[in-house]
Symmetry: D2
Subunit: 347 residues, 4 copies
Amino acid sequence: MLSFESDYTEGAHERILQRFLETNFEQLPGYGSDKYCMQAKKKIKKACQCPQADIYFLTGGTQTNQIVIDALLKSYEGVIAAKTGHVSVHEAGAIESTGHKVLELPEHDGKISAFELKKYLQNFWNDENHEHMVFPGMVYISHPTEYGTLYSRQELEAISNVCHEFQIPLYLDGARLGYGLMSSNTDVTLPYIAKCCNVFYIGGTKVGALCGEAVVFTKQNTPKHFITFIKQHGALTAKGRLLGVQFDTLFTDDLYFEISRHAIKMAELLKQGFKKRGYEFYLHSPTNQQFIILENQEMKELHKMVRFSFWEKLDEEHTVVRFASSWATKEADVEKLFEIIDRYKKV
Amino acid sequence: MLSFESDYTEGAHERILQRFLETNFEQLPGYGSDKYCMQAKKKIKKACQCPQADIYFLTGGTQTNQIVIDALLKSYEGVIAAKTGHVSVHEAGAIESTGHKVLELPEHDGKISAFELKKYLQNFWNDENHEHMVFPGMVYISHPTEYGTLYSRQELEAISNVCHEFQIPLYLDGARLGYGLMSSNTDVTLPYIAKCCNVFYIGGTKVGALCGEAVVFTKQNTPKHFITFIKQHGALTAKGRLLGVQFDTLFTDDLYFEISRHAIKMAELLKQGFKKRGYEFYLHSPTNQQFIILENQEMKELHKMVRFSFWEKLDEEHTVVRFASSWATKEADVEKLFEIIDRYKKV
Amino acid sequence: MLSFESDYTEGAHERILQRFLETNFEQLPGYGSDKYCMQAKKKIKKACQCPQADIYFLTGGTQTNQIVIDALLKSYEGVIAAKTGHVSVHEAGAIESTGHKVLELPEHDGKISAFELKKYLQNFWNDENHEHMVFPGMVYISHPTEYGTLYSRQELEAISNVCHEFQIPLYLDGARLGYGLMSSNTDVTLPYIAKCCNVFYIGGTKVGALCGEAVVFTKQNTPKHFITFIKQHGALTAKGRLLGVQFDTLFTDDLYFEISRHAIKMAELLKQGFKKRGYEFYLHSPTNQQFIILENQEMKELHKMVRFSFWEKLDEEHTVVRFASSWATKEADVEKLFEIIDRYKKV
Amino acid sequence: MLSFESDYTEGAHERILQRFLETNFEQLPGYGSDKYCMQAKKKIKKACQCPQADIYFLTGGTQTNQIVIDALLKSYEGVIAAKTGHVSVHEAGAIESTGHKVLELPEHDGKISAFELKKYLQNFWNDENHEHMVFPGMVYISHPTEYGTLYSRQELEAISNVCHEFQIPLYLDGARLGYGLMSSNTDVTLPYIAKCCNVFYIGGTKVGALCGEAVVFTKQNTPKHFITFIKQHGALTAKGRLLGVQFDTLFTDDLYFEISRHAIKMAELLKQGFKKRGYEFYLHSPTNQQFIILENQEMKELHKMVRFSFWEKLDEEHTVVRFASSWATKEADVEKLFEIIDRYKKV
């Protein structure tokens, strides 16, 4: 059945699989010290225009968030995040399981505001009882957010400035970073992110890889003995090539950006198609996830013919659903989707 | 350079890579609910002759040990293991990081003895102060052990009986299980392991996969909400197909056993070659890891021409080193190894 | 200087100190197995009209919350609490440090509502993604709350019913329980609490003891090997008499209730005094903590003559402050307080 | 019944209880900021001849070990201790519960040797796989040890030097420190300990207090926000006076040393009494714990008339038992003990 359920329904970009085949019998050292990891790091540094960057490869998003946050926080510190942040809601308590509280800020289309962040930090330090409270030790943002929205340069810089003022690191979750960077509606670039953030990750799992995320420390701030820390968290990949080959391929000839641009193009087709047919959007998303409001009856009917994600109940009669495009979405499938919808509409 | 450094220097068995290519554009649901995971589980159950088995796929060995042990122990319990067990020494404290002590028993060629295990458990329960001590909550063994040795049926049964008597689960780390099962020197089979152990894992990373271990709960004893537990530990793979396709392939047409048998054959060649040349073995290993004692000078010289692993200093003049074969070892390379050695010997 | 800063500014009720002296040279076994602990438990059971109760003594409130919550939750579960709950805000992340998330509900004068609790639980179980979320594993309420307010019988029963329906335990933090029970404005009794809650604690530190809280498990639901669990958390008192003698004394001849009643009487005097003088109350508190709104200038002036607690900024010109009475408050001191205020008012 | 079971069978030194009474109605601030805590700290600094010392009061030994070790270790580090160390065996896994491994060294009458410590550290750093192992992050010793034995100045200095060389802190568990310092068989003083150790604690619970241990950081090395860290571990005492008054009293007029000296005198009487009667000692203890070897039959008989501690089975017919003196031991009771023994011997 046709599916727009998520951006991880297909395998990996074929060039990656080809590279696996080509390099398969090379005997390589383990734990990330192989040449493909090295090459990939070099290419990523270049793409970030951040020569001092230090890069590590992990296998998934929750794992990455857990490890980076636990490594950077002191034990009495928590991480500030939007109420709707992935770390706040959809990681099964992975952050808390390492002993840290997620300190929630209000969200605005999935984003936090520099103003409210500053107020929060000021209030904390002015509170006479703050020694009895969890210290805010870093800021987590996702870009694109869980709602597909993007920070502008100005917003990012403002948040970064507050972090700097209060001397806590800014961490950006880039699970879908490619789709953010290739949006036609953004002034934020990879080098700009590297400049604003103390650490961020470039998502592979949702952008063309079978698995894998590239963590980038930008300020010579890699936690001491980070390899041991990763191992202790059960996240050190024996065959580092699994991640090295994938990221090396993704960052060769701009493949990562190219396939992300394709997803955005497909998302634009989805957007226009829904708009033309008078569907309401839950919010304006400039990236690969589109949130549509459906009447419950229509949702049920369409669900029989095409796969998409339930997002949340809007009211008794309406539901927010998500249609996601990806590097693997075919234009023909988007067309098919709207044929199905049009056929349904006629009935 | 020729390498016998470990059993994870190559990529994956080519049939696996082929399957990735063939299935790449199928749109599959995430988090292990895809059909390849289902098929793989079915085939593994059959190979284990354990229809009630419940199976989960994780990405690496330390991760698997950490999650299984943490899931089965109560918070005041620790895990019993040999002093040389992987969980005791080489996982960077992954077990302790989840709050549990590793309770060490003496090792005999890497193995624990049922007798000493029983004595330990009796002493604990007879100790008037045991409420102030860590409760022994499960037993960890590796098979093959870190020294390539194997438990016999009788040894395994004896340990299993002690566990049963004290009502604690027996967990077997099968990172190299294939090489143990295909040893010419064993009476232990996969169904026998499924019968004796409450939980064990079938190692993929070191036996032909790019990554992946299959955890098998054999006694309808899967921890409640185990998927959430895995997610919380940062170990839930979004694209479950990564693991499903690999294990489905490995357990189709006995590929897992076939490639393991090849590794054992190669190990036999290594063994005979070293024996014939008068090398001393640190211990008798019936599996794919061979531990040889080298004079330090010879070790240094050989190291220039071939890769193998440092294991430990034996005395001031001798070192224990490891030569490992694997599913990917070529017979020609074993021959080349001995040519190099013979050439060196002549000089 | 006169102080209404908190209910823990004095030592212990003198009868307790006398009992320390009288029993000082009795040789008693350690770790809570002495006869004073036994006697105290018996008396508390009787006061709770709960013969099957199982009781443990710990030294402080945060410690008690941390241990009880961690002991009752499974690792993938969190505890539901009001946004203003002590565990949510003022325990420096003690709950998270044991791996559990605090799941926040809205507060109404410091209380949660059964209706919102039920909605939260329903939403969780109806959410298709709940396997990726923290499971709600217990409910925490404080009584009196952090704002001195009290649940009614009806409210307590409604919450208890929801907990029962969703099969999660209800835990009541009774740091100031005496002051709640002796309020003139409550229909909730100790036996009623024992009936509604799966576990609760009777606070000593703030109600006449030097230290100590009595944890009461009411449903034969004591966690297995709880003594070991307490020890593991660094909370097992070697000289159990320290806690046993105190609670034995507090529950002899209704001392605990008597001294609590005194505190309430003093709080009534505070209340009337402030009311008569036209002060505004932040909320209506029927217990020993009174929250008054002061103009910032007046607050500063009064602070020079009497100690009370800053609570929170109300707006640019007003601040909420707390005046607390306790078992040790002297009527003469309340009078002195208002003399000071009256003198200030005149100026 | 007569008891030599432990050094915590009585309450507190009467001067402490008197001071509780005298200061009881002083209104004091909470959480350790009261004047008695201040005074006690001043006096302890002086006794340690360590003006830069930073001192904190906690309630018990296991709690103290857990908090100090967790605060000083990085998350990937473990603590080195003797196999018989209290943290290794008798704290129910309190150290592991905070995520850290206890790295065990051999024990020699309860002590570790500087030589073996150095070897351990060298081996770790020379091990090519040490990135996959737990990093040794501090050294734990107890003084007196769990066997009542003492380090000499020379031994202590040697250990301290190794720690210094490898840049890891030395931590001394002084649960019974008074009895060690007042031994007639030691050249180690409190200032010497302050000089050699980075942190240590002065035990109160077993030396005259109802509860309480004084942690001394000697090298301006207090962990950042340590009060918050203590709170997070559930160990911050609301009524700090409970600990302040006790330590203030113990360090006034050398009370701590005086009462410790008395315990040593009583231990000498025990020692001589046993020796004269031909009893064998398990080892030579120069402090307040004496370890005697008893025939099982005699042990059983004596147990009916006097309380002492089971220590461990020596062989099928003999048991090691412990007789402990303390600050509260009466000379008349020692005499009674030997009357009982003599009477038994005659029968």
